[in-house]
């Protein structure tokens, strides 16, 4: 008989198996410790390509949905908005709009526009572009979270090319949020935008190409109205693995990494070869959502038990390494809706959680979804699972692809519990409650409906001044609805943190968490 394999084939397989095992375990350890930064920060230098590592790739159908790192960077580099918020307040500053005036009845706003701005293809920017951009955001096909606010702009006076009056269905407490969020897009290349072939904006960088799953590239816009950027080009590469981003940063492959974990940030900030950039003012929250169409989750006592059982402070300490705040409400201290006491209404209380579970009797096993491949989601999910087991609630972890999570969020299609991130709490509170998918009073990801919540949310939306006493009272009631009904419970509030080599300077960001590089430069 003939043996099916010869000796050399054994050796080859042995070598291949051993190499594969070592590769599995150690592929990202094979990195150099070469510094890519000089550590010096002298005068700004022109030229150079900034190489950025981003975790999630652009999704053309959700280009305006803040759904990916690459997509967010695209919006931040290629487009401008009418106004810009400073990091630490909601005091809007001019951008493409030089000034604005809200009518006394709050039903319209008139903006003066810059007359020296052109799109990347050379066409002048006019009031028609503002109208087109807001109407695009009002189109439900784009599934943007501020769609309701954009749709509340019911009329446009574009009779003058550099002035526009927006007529509003009712006073909007968050109209300036909308004007900060909406990028000014070009109507003449809209079809190419939908096909991800061209992104023609007025921003500091021109879009030059996108290879799906690989990278997106940009070049300097020499005609930028604020002055040409110093960097010659920006290459944003898709690097889903956080450890690979750190390895690339250390080896000099990347200048800037967008997806570094808190633990690696903690390590890298001790190293003078790297700088950490904290996006203070652009908050992000992690939360647990509850699908109320799941009959097992319709009893509020079970949702309250979950909210009491979760150890938020442990997530802050162990996952975010202290760089976050544990709170059951999303607001940061600068928000007019901030209420520290209500934010701690569900501070960890195992005894209360157990008592609520005891009242309910047998609790079935509940599915808990989280974004697969994202270490933060998986870690939080495992902590939550252990917390809930302690009080008698069993959950089955269900890792779900990020794109599928986003689809289920938009379509309100989660099975049971889910862990995900949200934003928008850094804006006027009404932007969160009328816009963000988890909170939207008219239609949210939990399928939670409540006439009083809808009424108070809409009322707070229709107060022209979000800092007025009237608005604050309404926000207080909105907080009560969130605390009492628990269709979701926030876990932590944190700021995105990026890491660059110390050769990179002038990195900035928008309130929308988009990277801004018009002032950035790199040591040669």
């Amino acid at each position: 008989m003939t043996a099916p394999h010869t000796r050399p084939s054994f050796l080859r397989l042995a070598a291949a198996a051993a190499a594969s095992v070592l590769l599995l375990a150690g592929c990202s350890s094979a990195v150099g410790e070469q510094s890519s930064g000089s550590g010096a920060s002298g005068d700004p230098v022109e030229g150079g390509t900034l190489r950025v590592a981003a975790t999630t790739d652009h999704v053309p159908a959700a280009a305006f949905g803040q759904s990916s790192d690459v997509g967010n960077t695209l919006i931040g580099l290629v487009y401008d908005s009418l106004v810009e918020y400073p990091h630490d307040s909601l005091d809007a500053q001019p951008s493409l709009a030089t000034s604005w005036e809200v009518a006394e009845d709050g039903r319209s706003i008139t903006l003066q526009l810059r007359d020296d701005v052109t799109f990347h293809d050379g066409r002048p920017f006019t009031s028609e572009d503002v109208k087109f951009s807001i109407q695009t955001f009002a189109d439900p096909a784009w599934a943007v979270q501020v769609q309701r606010t954009a749709a509340a702009v019911t009329g446009f006076d574009t009779s003058k090319p550099h002035e526009i009056t927006l007529e509003l269905a009712h006073p909007l407490s968050n109209i300036l949020d909308l004007l900060d969020i909406v990028p000014i897009i070009d109507s003449e290349t809209y079809d190419e935008l939908k096909e991800a072939k061209t992104y023609n904006g007025t921003g500091p960088f021109r879009f030059t190409g996108w290879s799906p799953g690989s990278k997106m590239t940009f070049e300097r816009n020499d005609d930028y109205w604020k002055g040409a950027p110093k960097l010659e080009a920006v290459d944003v590469q898709v690097v889903p693995d956080a450890q690979a981003q750190v390895a690339g940063l250390r080896s000099g492959q990347y200048d800037l990494a967008l997806g570094v974990t808190a633990r690696d940030v903690e390590t890298l900030e001790q190293d003078p070869k790297f700088d950490v950039h904290s996006f203070e003012g652009a908050t992000q929250q992690q939360y647990i959502g509850f699908q109320l169409e799941n009959k097992d989750l319709q009893d509020v006592r079970l949702r309250q038990a979950v909210a009491y059982a979760v150890d938020r402070q442990r997530i802050v300490d162990e996952l975010f390494r202290g760089a976050a705040v544990a709170s059951g409400l999303p607001w940061s201290p600068s928000s007019p809706a901030y209420d520290e006491a209500k934010g701690q209404a569900y501070a960890r209380d195992v005894a209360k959680a157990k008592a609520l579970v005891a009242e309910l009797g047998d609790v079935p096993v509940l599915p808990l979804q989280f974004a697969a491949g994202q270490p933060a989601g998986e870690t939080i999910a495992q902590i939550v699972q252990a917390n809930l087991e302690e009080v008698g609630i069993e959950v089955e972890l269900k890792p779900t692809e990020f794109a599928q999570m986003y689809k289920q969020l938009v379509g309100a299609q989660f099975e049971g519990l889910w862990i995900f991130g949200h934003t928008y709490a850094q804006y006027s509170p009404a932007t969160l409650t009328v816009s963000a998918f988890p909170f939207n009073a008219a239609h949210n990801a939990s399928n939670f409906t409540d006439e009083e919540y809808l009424a108070d949310s809409d009322a707070s939306w229709k107060v022209a001044d979000p800092t007025s006493e009237e608005a604050r009272e309404l926000f207080d009631r909105v907080n009560d609805h969130i605390v009492d009904n628990v269709w979701l419970t926030d876990l932590t509030t944190s700021y995105p943190r990026l890491v660059s080599t110390s050769a990179v300077h002038g990195i900035d960001y928008s309130k929308r968490t988009e990277l801004l590089l018009d002032e950035a430069w790199k040591d040669q």
Partner: protein
């Protein structure tokens, strides 16, 4: 086979595989903690008397998780591979006797073997979801054509032998011939392939769990432990050491066994 196992390579292989099997079997008795227990305050603690292999980023004892992870690999090695081998041999024996079924079966085998293992695993995980069952099914699916084709080769050789032809002339039925002559004469190469396939199965479990389509969290497997270790390579390199050592020794042990069996077979 006994002679093969008496060689230095065979003994070394047996010791390595036997030792790891023993660790897996006695794991629940040896482990200081439950593999999913989160120890308060023990976040990424390095190796110490309390935690010999340290703790992970969710405060779990890595030694306890490694011992539990071994059991998953043993399940794959000693259940999935033999199951796939048995099924493959049965299909190969039965269908190879007649030309029509032989051609049809070989084309199906071609189809399965043409699929890269991990693509097949990802496709299966997409249909039935990740988990230990998926790993077992993938291994079985991969081993069926391997063993089916191997036994077919033996059958085609043996059926040309004069004593088989003589048996056919005196009216021996196909099933009797398969059982009496073909299978016994195929056993040695099949044994070698079995040991070899077991080492490949360890690799498949590792790769699937590493890609997130294997054992579901919070349950551990050697592959998922390596994945966690890689994620925290800079901060906690000790996380990978235990599971890496076990995988390397288990694969090495199985390969040594396969090699010694092969050499004995050739001699």
């Amino acid at each position: 086979m006994r002679a093969a196992l008496a060689t230095p390579k065979g003994v070394a292989g047996l010791v390595l595989v036997g030792g790891i099997v023993l660790l897996g079997v006695l794991g629940p008795l040896l482990a200081p903690y439950s593999p999913t227990q989160q120890v308060p305050g023990a976040n990424l603690v390095g190796p110490s008397a309390a935690h010999w292999l340290g703790t992970d980023d969710v405060n779990r004892d890595v030694l306890s998780r490694t011992l539990a992870g071994i059991r998953v690999d043993l399940l794959v090695v000693f259940l999935a591979v033999p199951a796939g081998a048995a099924l493959g041999m049965l299909v190969g024996l039965v269908t190879s006797w007649w030309k029509v079924t032989d051609v049809l079966t070989q084309r199906v085998f071609d189809l399965v073997l043409a699929f890269p293992t991990l693509i097949l695993a990802i496709a299966l995980a997409a249909v039935i979801g990740p988990g230990t069952t998926t790993i077992v099914l993938v291994v079985v699916a991969i081993e069926v054509p391997v063993f089916g084709r191997l036994v077919r080769t033996s059958l085609r050789t043996v059926r040309e032998m004069p004593y088989v032809e003589a048996a056919q002339v005196v009216g021996a039925r196909p099933w009797w011939l398969l059982r009496r002559h073909v299978l016994p004469n195929s056993l040695e190469p099949l044994t070698v392939q079995l040991a070899l396939s077991m080492s490949v199965a360890v690799f498949i479990e590792g790769a699937m769990s590493f890609l997130g389509i294997g054992v579901k969290a919070p349950d551990p497997s050697l592959g998922s432990l390596l994945k966690d270790g890689t994620r925290l390579m800079y901060d906690a390199p000790f996380l990978s050491l235990g599971p890496l050592l076990v995988v390397v020794l288990l694969v090495l042990g199985l390969l040594l066994l396969a090699q010694s069996l092969s050499e004995a077979h050739r001699d």
